[in-house]
């Protein structure tokens, strides 16, 4: 379970995240939806403790991530914005490396690795060096190492970005499975279909602020748009009339994403 309250982060004069609050519940998929530069990545970076908020509170399994980042990281599995791999290591070695850093060893680690390789359909590439991997294979490897320790909370920053159909399906499959196992899954996306297909709760973020939150049905009701995409456009102030855009002078926020 993740709870954030009134989160702020600014870069110079730009308010990248400006008072964001929401909750990602266990056994549910929460989608952080917003256009490019809305502050999704910055919000997630603060959540996974590598960025310090200027203001606000982050609780991960009740652990304050600002005052005890290391303690919070115990409960997190993260697929960051940049998920670079080590070209000279194999997929299996990547999973082992992170597993061992999490304190998993021996038979437990071997077991868990086999499970992940099977679940992500990676058996054929498990012992190949990642240097020649396709984008999909790289994402799977990064995902596997991120959840090797079976973390209670899983954060995924645009996990399906640039993936082909089959890889996208595999990632969605994982997200559903994690949800089914009772994990709290929070992922960001700028793709409407993705979010609507997977999420129990959608948090719409634009220019560093939450502009709408709730189930897909809630959002439809809120905006009066039957089509979820229209609802999204209306909420994020991307509409052409400009009437729903209170921050037009502020420009694109979220310089870091």
């Amino acid at each position: 379970m993740i709870r954030i309250e009134n989160l702020h982060k600014r870069f110079g004069d730009v308010r990248a995240v400006d008072g964001v609050s929401f909750t990602a519940a266990d056994g549910a998929v929460t989608g952080l939806l917003g256009p490019n530069g809305a502050g999704k990545t910055t919000t997630l970076r603060m959540l996974y403790t590598l960025m310090r908020p200027d203001e606000g509170r982050i609780l991960i399994e009740g652990v304050d991530a600002v005052t005890d980042p290391e303690g919070a990281r115990f409960h997190l599995g993260v697929l960051p914005d940049q998920s670079g791999l080590y070209p000279r290591l194999t997929a299996r070695e990547h999973i082992h490396y992170f597993g061992e850093l999490q304190g998993i060893t021996g038979a437990d680690l071997a077991h868990r690795t086999e499970y992940l390789l099977k679940m992500l359909d990676m058996a054929a590439i498990a012992d190949r060096r990642v240097a020649g991997f396709s984008h999909g294979e790289r994402t799977k490897t990064a995902l596997a190492r991120a959840i090797v320790h079976n973390p209670k909370n899983v954060l995924l920053d645009e996990p399906t970005n640039g993936l082909d159909v089959m890889s996208t399906r595999a990632v969605r499959e994982i997200i559903r499975r994690l949800k089914g196992e009772g994990h709290a899954v929070l992922f960001s996306s700028h793709v409407m279909q993705e979010v609507s297909a997977l999420c129990d709760t959608i948090v719409v973020i634009a220019r560093g602020q939450i502009v709408g939150a709730g189930s897909p049905d809630d959002l439809r009701r809120q905006t009066g748009h039957e089509n979820l995409e229209d609802a999204f456009v209306s909420l994020s102030g991307l509409g052409t009339d400009g009437s729903t855009d209170p921050h037009s002078a502020q420009g694109e926020a979220g310089a870091a994403s």
Partner: protein, 394 residues
Amino acid sequence: MNSRSLAQVMVVVRKELVDWSRDRRSIMTVLISSLLAPAIIGFMFSSLASRQRQVEDITVPVVGAAHAPALIEWLQQQPGITITDGPSDPEEAVRTRREDVVVIITDDFARDFAASKPAQIRLVSDSSSQNTRPKVQRVRALFQRYGSEIGSLRLIARGISPVVSVPVQVEDVEVSSAQQRAATILGFIPLFVMLAAFTGAMGIATDSTAGERERGSIEALLVNPAPRSAIAGGKWLAGTATAMLSVVITSALLFALFQYIPLQDLGIRFQLGPAQLLGTMVCVLPICPLIVAIQMYVATFAKSFKEAQSYLSFLMMAQMVPGMMASMNAFPAKAWMYFVPWLGQQTLLTDVLGNKVIHPGVFVVVAVVNIALAIVAVRATAGLFVREKIIFGR
């Protein structure tokens, strides 16, 4: 640091070493730089030895030997001298470097000699040629000796003590001897060993810092619940291991090389035996952690491998300055120098190789100073791993 963090340190060490061992570029760097030192020193010594031999056994081409049979006979009695017939065009032969030196005995030699007038001998040489200078000097000295012997005999024949004609006696003290040159070459050894430490460290120091940033893998790594000090520490220890490996290989190769160099033939009482090898290790290995730590700290500021390498090449030059100065004997060794990194290793190594007796405490203090400074640098690097500009700045 608790046992959990310690285990994490070891996990990072193992991963970095495995990664490094598969990096052909790093391995080649270590191998080439390890071979460089023995190759260069071996080459320098063999050229020195051949030059020395050239001076010892020389062949002197003489034109007009028939004009001075007594002189030729005297020359042939001198050790290491062989007289041959000179070329038809001596000046051309020397200019084209076919001959190093040619002696011409003039037609009037016999007449002038008999009349006790200065009899002329021409020495054709090229003073711009460094290599032949010792040989030319040797030949000139031969004639001077012959001249003074004959002069003395003439004075005695006239009832005068030859000593009278020597109002001033000059004694040459040659400092630029073969020994001296050999010592200069030996002075490069510490430099090469330090260089080996530097190049051995570079692979992991750059790959695990700037490399992580360039690949974008640092974010995922730092999300793990491991203290920054454990991650930086693991990378540091792995880098230290490769730096030390490089030093050991280089020293061992130098050791092997010196078993084959005939130093005695050069009149040098230098040895690189097991004792010196051990001394070299004890002296240089403790600085490896510091070299790695500083390289890591600097490389962490770089966004890419290339950027890191250009930073480190400046660092290398800066590190080499005290070594260069010490090997050129620009300043005499003072006590405080032992405790300054790099300078200390250089001074200490010179002592070790020069068979000076060194108090074991000096080694201990030098090691403690270097390792303490290294820990400071590693902590500073761990501090950088917290900075958002470093983690996210690409």
